[in-house]
Symmetry: D2
Subunit: 389 residues, 4 copies
Amino acid sequence: MVSGTREKKTGKIRLGMVGGGQGAFIGAVHRLAARMDDEYEFVAGALSADPAKAKASGRDLGLAPDRIYSSYEDMAKAEAKRPDGIEVVSIVTPNHVHVPAAKAFINAGIHVICDKPLALSLKEARSLEALLARRKDVIFALTHNYSGYPMIRHAKAMVKSGELGEIRVVQGEYPQDWLTTALEKTGQKQAAWRTDPKRSGAGGCVGDIGTHTYQLLCDVSGLAGEELAADLTSFVKGRVLDDNAHVMLRFKGGAKGMIWASQVAPGNENGLKIRIYGTKGGLEWKQEDPNYLWFTPFGEPKRLITRGGAGSGGEAGRVTRVPPGHPEGYLEGFANLYTEAARAIRAARTGKKADKEVTFPGIADGVAGMAFIEACVKSSRANGKWTKL
Amino acid sequence: MVSGTREKKTGKIRLGMVGGGQGAFIGAVHRLAARMDDEYEFVAGALSADPAKAKASGRDLGLAPDRIYSSYEDMAKAEAKRPDGIEVVSIVTPNHVHVPAAKAFINAGIHVICDKPLALSLKEARSLEALLARRKDVIFALTHNYSGYPMIRHAKAMVKSGELGEIRVVQGEYPQDWLTTALEKTGQKQAAWRTDPKRSGAGGCVGDIGTHTYQLLCDVSGLAGEELAADLTSFVKGRVLDDNAHVMLRFKGGAKGMIWASQVAPGNENGLKIRIYGTKGGLEWKQEDPNYLWFTPFGEPKRLITRGGAGSGGEAGRVTRVPPGHPEGYLEGFANLYTEAARAIRAARTGKKADKEVTFPGIADGVAGMAFIEACVKSSRANGKWTKL
Amino acid sequence: MVSGTREKKTGKIRLGMVGGGQGAFIGAVHRLAARMDDEYEFVAGALSADPAKAKASGRDLGLAPDRIYSSYEDMAKAEAKRPDGIEVVSIVTPNHVHVPAAKAFINAGIHVICDKPLALSLKEARSLEALLARRKDVIFALTHNYSGYPMIRHAKAMVKSGELGEIRVVQGEYPQDWLTTALEKTGQKQAAWRTDPKRSGAGGCVGDIGTHTYQLLCDVSGLAGEELAADLTSFVKGRVLDDNAHVMLRFKGGAKGMIWASQVAPGNENGLKIRIYGTKGGLEWKQEDPNYLWFTPFGEPKRLITRGGAGSGGEAGRVTRVPPGHPEGYLEGFANLYTEAARAIRAARTGKKADKEVTFPGIADGVAGMAFIEACVKSSRANGKWTKL
Amino acid sequence: MVSGTREKKTGKIRLGMVGGGQGAFIGAVHRLAARMDDEYEFVAGALSADPAKAKASGRDLGLAPDRIYSSYEDMAKAEAKRPDGIEVVSIVTPNHVHVPAAKAFINAGIHVICDKPLALSLKEARSLEALLARRKDVIFALTHNYSGYPMIRHAKAMVKSGELGEIRVVQGEYPQDWLTTALEKTGQKQAAWRTDPKRSGAGGCVGDIGTHTYQLLCDVSGLAGEELAADLTSFVKGRVLDDNAHVMLRFKGGAKGMIWASQVAPGNENGLKIRIYGTKGGLEWKQEDPNYLWFTPFGEPKRLITRGGAGSGGEAGRVTRVPPGHPEGYLEGFANLYTEAARAIRAARTGKKADKEVTFPGIADGVAGMAFIEACVKSSRANGKWTKL
């Protein structure tokens, strides 16, 4: 099933951005994702804390001069006052800015799409959760983008409908190799902030990619973590944060799991993979080949379910743009979160809730992610002691 | 090497479209591709020959009422006169409209991005070629979109630089299964026109996907076809055009090849694959897994070159948006042609040629494709006689 | 389904061999295949035409001195007279010796297991066929070993039972790269005789591996070839026989096919692959990963049927030794032919026919293979003219 | 590099067997492995403790009546006295018989090839180790058969030569699905003893396949385990032993690892896989596709090293029978251990040591395996406490 490309030129949603100026990576990804289905128009930004850089970046991207800011506080205030002010802001900064910026916009009544992990600490995440509990009018989306892949939607639907039976074992892994050497010492910007606890928080690899893995496992399996035992390591000399994480998991209800996340595994680019096994069947999915979902009903041959192809249902179909065999990728999956958020924002314009089928990661995923990071760090410091989530 | 996402909000290129109204498939793909890198603004359209449908489709897509047309002739004339008229038009109709529409816009001095195959016949294709020879100011791009994949760019660069030695054998295949049954009799629109010689021309499968295969083989290998022997079949009862094509090829200089294209091969979604073998090495690439390029230097282990990863050079890098392991797909490859065309159009605004590195399929590919179709049909009718290209 | 390893120490079949002395390759494969299921005892040999080498080779392999011969004629005569003489002989020489040797043993009432291709010419093959028609008491097996793989047995059973519907298209390929350079000029023995028409016959690549591909396509699909058009090439300078073959096929009943066989395709080791498509489904199998069979019922997800696993039936099970996930390979597939032949020989001891389920390639496959080679050569010389098989 | 098939008819090694009678699985695998390279002749057996079954099984396999025993003690004594007595015995019983039987033959001066895991307990394993320390004349091989695969030999050589740099992370997994349901309650013999602590020992899944994984990781990486934390689970109701094992590992010198072993993961047949990452590169190998070894030198494209192909060195070549592209499998890997043991036994005949290149798992692997099982069980009972190996 393929829903086809979606376009809505009329009534586009006005979008702003914090972070994502010249030299940044993920900001441009967010903008492209917002553009893909033509739901948003990008009209304002605090693209850098450095005023000169903010200005130059805004100009490059065609922003009106009066909507280029160098402070997110100023931006939140000014945009809230404008009749044509932004309806939603994307926060694409390093982690330490996520929560303060989000609060500024939420307080101004502006919806938020925030990059992950949510915060510097669980405590900070909970304070945002509390604010959102009071501001039910504000939509908050967290870009655990891998949740946006069609085959992930289908996997989740299969688990929910009972096709796997009772889930027993889940396996998640996310190996990369880009930090095999001390790249952060070469001035590489991405490496620098991701290995710096002041900007990243207490988790290195476990925060950056471990949280993606944990979120995806929980999202697809429907399981909630109960406790974990972790062994975090910094293999590269002088690195403060972990660059390799081994985690054993116990879920509520008795399922068990493991997560391996690594940034020092040569030959792995972005190897996120999840496997889910129940009493009646098993599922396997790999981010680098995202159009394929492997399903084995116990006692039958393995089946290859393809995006848009036979066996792929409505939950995948509504976030599928092109027919089977025409591969979709990372940007399409990312865009799906933006388009889902757009549906929620459009509904909110008229005071409604989005259709039930609209779904994207939010504050609960963010808090769970921070609980995961803190439990991993705490367990690892206590020599792998089982630690509650 | 990764160039990263590209955006240029300022000075967007004004784009129109012929075809692609409600219910169409490829039009939406073209619009999304145009949007991906933010180079174009879509401002006018003759989206359907049916005035009511044209109007409804244009309104859906946010076109101003006075720029919604139901005839491409009217559109070409009217847009040519406006100071804010379109600079380029995308032609996304069934094949029989391609050339007449293209001529109308070329004559009006408007650049053209046209879907493939180029024409209903080689003769018609040559007439367009002749027109373009006189109108050197007009840019003409043909959306043989598979040429836009980064790994195809890299493969081409490898052949050109001599890494494969002298090319001996090329193998192309493009199996699909969607026409295994008489889908055209069920009212399915895509199936209906593709099996109708009046709208598709003399080639069925060989025209729709055989030409993609031939174009890609020639593009990557740098070879030019000399003659071919073909055996075309219509397996489904009542189908007039071929749904399976077997072709043997001889290239100038002595290389040999084969092409298999099929729409009746169950288990194949969009299985375009090319393999190129020379005296020094071999290359393999598969459209459904487009981020991977397999290269074997003779006598050494096979190597997996990944988009954006180690071993992938500048030609791929300049059309690569996200890092290795973050898969790009069909839409990104398609968008690369639009962005390459945008570079040429921007250069043309100031009377310049685009940088030498800018490359996209054009009229020569279109004429070669029509020659391929006609040679296949002619050879097949002559019981597989070798026929000049 | 797994039948398990088979062993029968009692009443082993007495086996002799022609060819396969020191330095040979395939002779040792035959002996290992014969040993695998413990059905044979190797007791006599004319391992070389060179008496000294024959003697040394026989001694190495533990043959009794009086059962080491340097002429197959002598061997056939002497063994036929012994009460403990061989019951069956394996002929593992270059092609030109196959038929003369086979005739000697057949005339002596000794069963024959012969390597392929059968003969130097179709005419010679037919003369053997005629002899066998007169000597119905003698069993003749031809080691088209790929027919012995369990998943091939299962594929054949699926086609036969109608799971694919009516067969429309078959695709066979067999790329290798070992003759990319003029290896035959370096003294490499395998390369030398395979590129020499006196020892190989009129086909090079098409004879050595093209015949395997054709035999396997016919065996699995149940189709019989009607005519073909071929384009054979010798890419390596000075090579007399073809090293690359392009073939288009038409089968009785209307199915079509292609074969590509090559010895000059860098990156391919022994890439035999067949694909079979019918009105109801498609099958794919690759020799290098022989434990997997891909099956797509049209309109359903692709399924991976594994040797010994779910979905694999009795025809595969009876030639399967170890459970799924414990890979079997080339030698096991080869051994299956020996064990099937053993069943026939044991039945013949008491004048019976083997059970109907016992099956192995024989004289008909050999004659069809020679017809294939000759038609390819003839068609290619006539510039690809369609030529009857 | 390919050494080719090996055969030595002269001076075959006289082999006996304990266990492996009618209905058994692994005994037949051992006999076939012994037969593959023609190094052994099978002449005596205590194939069952049930005299009638022992006799019937021995007769089936062609043993002389006076060499069919129903007690391994009797067999050891009787064979030791015969001038033509067995030189080596294979012990292929459930685990609880391994050590008592091995001791009987060792005390009689007969070499032993024993299935794994070695013993019922670490203590019992150590007692055998002590005996072997006194009987240096006796060869002891443990059939951790996966160590016999050529690509494993090559991987080990690569690590040893420093191509991976310093090893940091190893990942092992061994998922199966055959015990997803309570198969042991259906009377299935393999399931029954493997889930019974009296015959299997304290480890279920962790003993049967966890030990294979641990042995292979250590063998290839050259690392020695220091401590582990384990979480063992019995998912199937009523099952006493674990059917799923999660293990975190720390090795001497600072490397870290994880092992996942499971018998309840639907869609996995025999999915043993190891991955090894160092400062300079990474290796990946999967048992179900054993002819492939993936190697990535950090910063370069991934390479596919194939058995017998380019890049595969002498250590693999000496246990390789057929050329690249002709797949070898489980039985060939198993046979390699038998053939390596044969080399040691032949050397021992004349009081010599085997060449240094001859290598097979032995008592040290067995003791390490039992330490692994006991540490897993102990850690798991102590809620995942890190436990010394």
